[in-house]
Amino acid sequence: MAMTDGREDDLDLERFFRAARAAAPEPSEAFLTRLAAQGLAEQARFAAPPVLRQAPKRRGLVATLVAAVGGWAALGGMAGGMATAMVAGLWIGLAGAPTLVQAVGLGSAVTAEADSYLPDADVLALAVTQ
């Protein structure tokens, strides 16, 4: 086509545009209904209250420490065991000290004076049992 001046083309095109505007494609009601349903579904998704989760109970420091070692029952057993261990440790430490020292090859470094400061093992054992 030989182009005429732009103004004439604009006038002609405007007639086509006007016809197209008048015949604008319209969505069906069914489609709009689907759009609304989608909107409501999406809204329900983000508007739903968050799922409630049981908040952990707050514990005091002592309770937390007790729980960390297995609870009061375990602690009770541990207390008894600790007492036993302490007594046993004391006995071993005192009665067996020279033996241990000798066992690691330091026997020569232990003087007779050291022996004199250590109570007799039998006496200690008797004291513990009493």
Binding site: M1, M3, T4, E8, D9, D10, D12, L13, E14, R15, F16, F17, A19, A20, R21, A22, A23, A24, P25, E26, P27, F31, L32, R34, L35, A36, Q38, G39, L40, E42, Q43, F46, A47
Partner: protein, 192 residues
């Protein structure tokens, strides 16, 4: 809120209400923006079934952004024009596999089909001619001359400058004039 009460509210207010859980706002927004998205999608894609799919995708994006919508920053309709335009651009790119500023080859028989359409329906003739435009030119022409947006609004919707909008519109109209010229006189559009 009664549906009638929504008529006095702006799109943005409705969107905020929607984000706050108001179901009536959802229906009001669909009534206003659904036809806009669909109409624009049809004009961009030339396929009604695909346009429904695109409009639905665009509205879904609107629903999802509603809770975080920042009021006072953009018009909801302009935001929707942009989303529809971008989605249409993506689909056209996939469909044709050509650059957005390249004119696609006219399919065989397109010229005669165009003539038939011109004889029967001016609006459809324009639709067919629009389909022959490069995508970006078509978008600019549709937004300007069929949707009635201003050039600055189109610039926002297409994420380009105003001068680029003017250039795309001018080139698109020149091509449309060429495409529609053959039957113009017969349809009473001659220079009388």
């Amino acid at each position: 809120m009664a549906f009638d009460e929504t008529r006095a509210l702006s799109d943005e207010t409705l969107l905020v209400l929607y984000g706050n859980g108001d179901g009536t706002a959802a229906r009001a927004l669909v009534e206003r923006l659904g036809p806009l998205a669909y109409r624009l999608a049809v004009r961009m894609l030339g396929d009604r079934a695909e346009a429904e799919d695109l409009a639905q995708e665009a509205l879904l994006r609107l629903w999802k952004i509603a809770p975080e919508w920042r009021t006072g920053e953009a018009k909801v309709s302009t935001w929707l024009y942009r989303v529809v335009t971008n989605l249409a651009t993506d689909r056209l790119r996939r469909r044709r596999g050509v650059g957005l500023d390249e004119a696609p080859e006219l399919p065989d028989g397109a010229a005669s089909a165009l003539e038939v359409m011109i004889e029967t329906d001016r609006a459809q003739a324009l639709e067919l001619a629009l389909a022959q435009l490069p995508a970006r030119q078509r978008q600019a022409v549709v937004l300007r001359h069929l949707e009635g947006l201003t050039n600055p609004e189109i610039a926002v919707a297409m994420e380009i400058g105003v001068e680029a909008v003017e250039s795309l519109t001018a080139r698109g109209k020149r091509t449309l004039a060429q495409l529609l010229a053959p039957r113009r006189a017969e349809l009473g559009y001659g220079h009388d």
